[in-house]
Structure formats: C-alpha cells, structure tokens
C-alpha cells in the first residue's frame, strides 16, 4: 500500500479547514427540525478530518513537533480540552450534555488545527479568501431577500426591516446573520491589505466589507448592527499600532467608518424599539443573573460541559418566561461566553479559557510586530488582522450578545489559532519540542489502513445524527397530521448523542399520550428524565398522564414540581389545583389556586378552581360538623 506523504496529509487538513470556512455559513437544510443541524454536521466532519490529517502527518513523519515558543498558547488550550473531557466523564447527564460538549470540542480542535498546522501566509490568505467569498454570497442572497426575491419557502419569515423584508440570508435569523458579518468584515479588510494578493481579489474584498455592513443594517437587528460596530473597533486599534504602515492606517480608518455607520444605524433602530425579546438588555440581565446563580451551585468545577440547557430550567427566572411568553423553550445558550464557560466548567475551566484566548491574542499581536520587523509583510498583516477579528468577535459576544453557536462563533477559534500560529514564523529555526514515535516505519505504514477505516467509521456518526434530525422533523409532520404510528417509528430511530435525542424521547411520550397509551408515555418521560430531569414541560405532561391513569397523588407531585420551575404557567397551576384536590390535599389545591389567582383573578378556570376548592372545603366542614355532632350524641346517649 502506498502511504501518503506528510505533505498530502497537510493538504487534506487544509482543505477541510477551507471547505468548512466556506460552506459553514452557507449550508442550510430545510428538512431538519433545527436549521443549524447541517452546520453542526459540517463542523463535525471538518474537525474530524483536521484532527485526522494532523495525526496522519505526525505518524507519516515519525514524530510530532511544535516550536518551544508555542507552549504559551498550547498549554492552556490542551489543559482546557483535558478539563472538558474530565468534567464530561464525571458530571451527571453526560448523554444530554454530549452535543454541547462536542460543539465546544470542535471549536477547540479547529483552534489547535489552525494553530499547529495551517499557519502561514498562504493558508491564511486562502482562509481569508474563502471566508470573504462566503460572506459575499451571504450578502448577495441577503440583498435578494430584502428585495423580496427570495425563492425559498421562508420568504418574509422575519417581517419587514428598514428597507424591504428583514434579511437573514443563510444564517438562521437576522441577528445571527449580522453577527457572522461582524466577524467577516475585519477578515475582508485584512485580506484587502495583503500585498501578495492579486489586485482584483483585494478589490473584491474591499467592496464586500461595506456591502456586508449594508446587509447587516438590512437585517433590522439593532444588536446585530451593534455587534458589527464593536467588532470593527479592535481592528481599527490593533492594525495601525502593529503594522505601522499607511495602508494599515487607511484600512483602520475604513473600519472606523464602517463601525460608525453600523453603530449609528443600531442606535436609530434601537430607539424605534425593533428588537426581538431574546436580544434585549432586559433578557441579557435576567440571563446573567440566572447564570450567576448556576455558578454559585458549583463554583469551582461547574455543572459539566454542554450541560447548560439541562440545568437551566431550575434557574430560569420568571422574567425570562414573561419575555418568552411561552413555556416550551428548548435551547438556552448562555449570555457572556466567559460566564457560560464558568457555569459549565467552573472557575478552573473559565480560567483556562481566558488564559488560552489571552495568550493566543497577545501572541498574535506581538507576532505581527515581530513578523513586520523580520520583513514578512503578508504574515504580519494576517497575524494582526486575524488577531483583531478574533478580539472583535469576542468583544461583541460579551458586550452585545452571545455568538457561541454556529458559523460566527466557530470563526473566532481558527482565526485566533492562525493569528497565534503565525508568530513563530518570525524565527524560523527556533528550538522545537519533538515527540518521536518509537515504532518502525513498517508499523507506521501498517497503521494507515486501520486509521483510514477509523476515520470513515467516525464520519458515519455525524451522518446518522443528521438523519435523526430529519426523522424527528418528519415525525412531527406525521404527528401533526394524525399519523401517530408512522411518527413513532421515526422517533424511535433517533440515535443517542444526536442533538435532538432528548427531544425525540419527549415527543415520543407526547405521541403515545395522544394515542391514550399513558403507561407507555410515562415510561418514555421517565427515560427522558434520566437524561434531562426538567426537560421543557415533562413534569406537567407526566402529571397529566398520572391523572388520566387515576394516580392523583403522583399527578399532584409532578404538577407541583412544574409549578416551581414555571410559576407563570396558568394551565399547570389550574391542573395542579385539580390534582391536589382529587388527591385529598386541599391545602395544596388552595395554594395552587391562589397562585393562579395572583396571575389572573378573572380567568374562568381560576374561578372554577376556587369555587371547587371552597365547595370541597364546605363539604368537609359539614361532614366534620356532622361527625362531631354524631359523636356528641353518642357521648350523651344514656346507657
């Protein structure tokens, strides 16, 4: 068997990184339940290929090596990854947390791959070109949406914006579209600064940057525009101070101008109150409060990587329920990424995360200066520009809104990795830490076949998870049209580890309940609770099934738990009152009715509960009176 050279492994990894950078913002799949499912699958394939290419390269060379100076970035990154794995292994609810953990691991793998293997002016310029190209396509499709020319079924899905329909392009919703643009604009400005890039491409990048800002305004998202403004500011600061050229100064001036335009548009729109509830300051403040309470529960080691959405229902403040206006919110991502890391990985994880980014960005900025002094102009441009883009994205995700999931969140990681990875190029013959493999070339060659098979097997798993998502979507379609058996067969095909595995079990319970199979529904809900104890409305639904099976005590307990999680759910409070009364717990029934009355005293359901509780109370009082009366008569009865 001909074994591939280290160079071909390098090319494979680089291709994976470039394809991910290009395809991630553009990919969408309408037949999945979640529009980001295809993006998550692409990320998994990309990260797997990058990791495999790095391993393959090392094995074919017979050694793994990094420059000694790289350890200042590598050490916190590896420690952060190791801590994540340790916490996943030791925290409860690992299966429900796994998709979140995997997403974070993919980000880290992308960072390490970009840092270790793909840093160099050539890789950096190609990465920038593909990011800018995909941004240009996002913008062109966005313009078509604004003009009402969107050929897809979601035409006008987010209402009207400043000029025509609100733009979200291929990014799921308008704020996500703007936040992708926020990271892509500094990359476009950097690309336009590279002296080795052909002039037409530089010109294209220069046109894309203001066009992207215009499209960000068309999203009609005030926080999205604010994110663009915030992310351009570090660029305007870092570029001229590190590169010290007239071109860098001009580019920084353009960034400042774009930031001013986006910022002014954001203020104008904010004054007109055109904001989605989940991007308001009130929402952010409530989320941060909840996150601080979550952090207080396990401050040192955290609740476990990826487990934010599993634990959040216990901490969700009533203010957020009021803002959402619904009781079925599924996905909760933390505001302030650093605080989110602290919630999931504790102070230890947050310290490592901050150390890693601080090291990467400072190495990138210092590396840009060193590269400029060494005469490596293109490398210095990319080191400075990517450092600024990553710093801008991080600043926007902390100051405006969290950008952790999706293409915009992912971009920060390879950008930070490449920026810091370019720095060692300033001293080409630096000392290296080398880890030679103590095995012969024959054995190394023999490892390729099983290695490739392992990669092929691993790439199937994300595909199966994606199929689970499509099955879930199809099952819901069947359930809504009353084809319950077909829906159940689809829901049962969900693979553990899929992002919607818990949701599939939850829906399975709902479909079984709709078929009046309440025992089976309860079994499904109990299975779900082994993974995610407080998932959406699971307690209320269990309460309903218990009640229909005649177990009023269990029904009252479940309804009480749901009322603690969501004190504003009127339907649950009414059902709790009813179940508690049927279980003979009149005090609990009265408490539930009083809580419902505080929400809406005029609601006829509440009036009915209060009347029923009063009636039972009167009956009990009458019975008690009769009993006492009879007792007295018995006592007085002469012998």
């Amino acid at each position: 068997m001909n074994t591939p050279s280290p160079e071909s492994a390098h090319r494979l990894g680089l291709t994976a990184l470039l394809v991910t950078a290009f395809a991630l913002p553009l990919a969408f799949l309408t037949n999945t339940y979640d529009s980001t499912a295809i993006k998550f699958t692409l990320l998994q394939w990309g990260a797997l290929t990058m990791a495999f290419a790095w391993l393959w390269q090392g094995v074919s060379r017979g050694r793994f090596q990094v420059s000694v100076s790289s350890w200042s970035v590598l050490l916190p990154a590896l420690a952060y990854g190791a801590w994540m794995i340790v916490r996943l292994a030791t925290a409860p609810h690992a299966l429900a947390s796994f998709p979140g953990f995997l997403s974070q691991l993919i980000m880290l793998v992308s960072f390490l791959a970009a840092f270790l293997e793909f840093s160099g002016a050539r890789s950096a310029s190609r990465f920038a070109l593909l990011t800018v190209s995909s941004c240009a396509i996002v913008c062109l499709y966005g313009l078509a949406q604004a003009l009402g020319l969107d050929p897809l079924l979601w035409k006008g899905a987010f209402g009207s914006g400043p000029l025509g329909a609100r733009v979200f392009s291929t990014l799921g919703n308008p704020p996500l579209c703007a936040s992708f643009i926020a990271v892509a604009v500094p990359v476009a400005l950097t690309f336009a600064l590279d002296p080795d890039t052909p002039r037409p491409l530089r010109l294209g990048a220069l046109i894309t940057a203001p066009l992207a800002v215009f499209v960000a305004i068309l999203t009609g998202s005030a926080p999205g525009m604010a994110a663009v403004a915030v992310s351009c500011l570090p660029y305007a600061l870092i570029l001229p101070s590190t590169l010290r050229t007239r071109a860098a100064l001009k580019s920084a001036g353009l960034a400042l101008l774009l930031a001013t335009i986006a910022g002014a548009a954001s203020f104008t729109l904010e004054a007109r109150g055109r904001q989605t509830w989940s991007y308001t300051n009130r929402f952010r403040a409530a989320m941060v409060g909840a996150e601080l309470r979550m952090l207080a529960e396990r401050p040192l080691v955290g609740l476990g990587p990826g487990s934010f959405s599993v634990h959040f229902p216990r901490f969700r403040p009533a203010d957020i329920i009021r803002l959402q206006g619904a009781h079925s919110s599924l996905v909760e991502t933390p505001e302030l990424p650093a605080l989110g890391v602290a919630v999931e990985l504790g102070a230890v994880g947050a310290a490592l995360w901050l150390w890693m980014f601080a090291a990467a960005l400072s190495v990138g900025a210092r590396g840009a200066r060193a590269l400029r002094r060494a005469g490596a102009t293109a490398e210095s441009v990319y080191a400075a520009g990517f450092t600024a883009a990553a710093a801008g994205g991080l600043a926007a995700s902390h100051l405006v809104f969290s950008q952790s999931p999706g293409a915009q969140g992912w971009l920060l990681w390879p950008l930070a990795g490449m920026a810091s990875g370019l720095a060692p190029l300033a001293c080409r013959r630096a000392a290296v830490s080398v880890y030679p493999l103590p095995i012969s070339e024959d054995i190394r060659r023999a490892l390729y076949a099983p290695g490739l098979l392992g990669l092929a097997a691993l790439t199937i798993i994300p595909g199966l998870w994606l199929r689970s998502q499509v099955d879930l979507n199809t099952a819901i379609y069947y359930a809504k049209t009353g084809r319950y058996d077909e829906a159940l067969s689809r829901l049962e095909r969900a693979y553990p580890g899929s992002p919607n595995y818990c949701l599939s079990i939850y829906f399975r319970g709902n479909v079984l309940a709709a078929q009046n199979k309440h025992k089976e529904a309860l079994a499904a809900y109990e299975l779900l609770q082994t993974h995610a104890p407080d998932f959406i409305l699971v307690h209320a639904l269990k309460g309903r099934s218990h009640a229909l099976l005649g177990d009023w005590t269990a029904a009252a307990d479940e309804r009480a738990r749901q009322a603690r999680l969501d004190p504003l759910d009127m339907a649950n409070l009414v059902a709790w009152s009813e179940a508690a009364r049927a279980a003979g717990r009149l005090d609990q029934a009265r408490a539930a009715a009083a809580q419902a009355e505080a929400l809406d005293a005029d609601d006829p359901r509440v009036r009915l509960q209060i009347a029923a509780n009063n009636l039972i109370e009167r009956r009990l009082a009458t019975q008690d009176q009769r009993r006492r009366h009879n007792g007295r008569n018995v006592a007085k009865k002469p012998r």
Partner: protein
C-alpha cells in the same frame, strides 16, 4: 528519557540543526553513545563542522554576488506567487459548493419547528 532506534532516527535532522531542546538532545546523544548502528546512520548529519577560515564570509558574499548577477542576466525574474495564475479552479469549486448547498436547501419536508407556537412541544397534539 531512553530512546529506541526508531525514535532517535526520527529526530536526527533536528539534532543536526541544533533545534532540539537540551533534554531531548541529551537523550539522542545518550542513545548514539550506546548504539553503533544509529551512530553510523547519523554520522553524516551530526559530524562536527570544520571551523570556517577567517575570510570565509567575504568569499561567500563575493560568490553569491557573482552568481546572482549571472543568474539575473541569464533568466527573467521568477515571481513567487502566493496564488496560482489561474483562479478558475477555485471559482468552480466555490460555485459547485454553493449550488450543492442551495439544492440541499431546496429539497425535502419544510421544517416543523415553530418556537413561538409549538403545539407538540406543549403536549397538545393534535
């Protein structure tokens, strides 16, 4: 740290360039001291370099200058490009990926997800 022959041979080039960390270089030296076969293999790359004569730098500079001038006269300058002259392959790949993404997006059952009004999530189906 004790190295075997395979591990030692994998780092001979870095050892010769003096780029190994002192600890790693020491372990390579220890292995070379105990292994005649590796010593023989590494000999051409790790043999001590003869000290240069005092006028070496001047002679090298003169030789380089004359070679460069001769080469400049003989051949047109070769521009080292970061990008291939023909960018059509990049454009075709980008177009193919975009078409693929649009085709995938166009097909299939529309998403059933409606966060604001999800009857199934609330357990109210049908």
């Amino acid at each position: 740290m004790i190295m075997n022959c395979h591990a030692a041979q994998a780092v001979f080039d870095l050892h010769a360039e003096g780029r190994l960390t002192p600890r790693r270089a020491k372990s390579v030296d220890a292995h070379l001291a105990s292994c005649a076969r590796c010593r023989a293999l590494s000999a051409p790359t790790v043999s001590p370099v003869k000290p240069a004569s005092p006028d070496f730098k001047a002679r090298l500079a003169a030789a380089l200058k004359s070679k460069t001038a001769a080469a400049a006269r003989a051949e047109p300058p070769i521009e080292e490009r970061l990008w291939p002259r023909d960018l059509s392959s990049v454009a075709v790949a980008a177009l193919a990926l975009t078409l693929l993404a649009v085709c995938i997006g166009w097909s299939g059952v529309p998403s059933q997800w409606d966060a604001g009004n999800d009857e199934l999530a609330a357990g109210r189906i049908p």
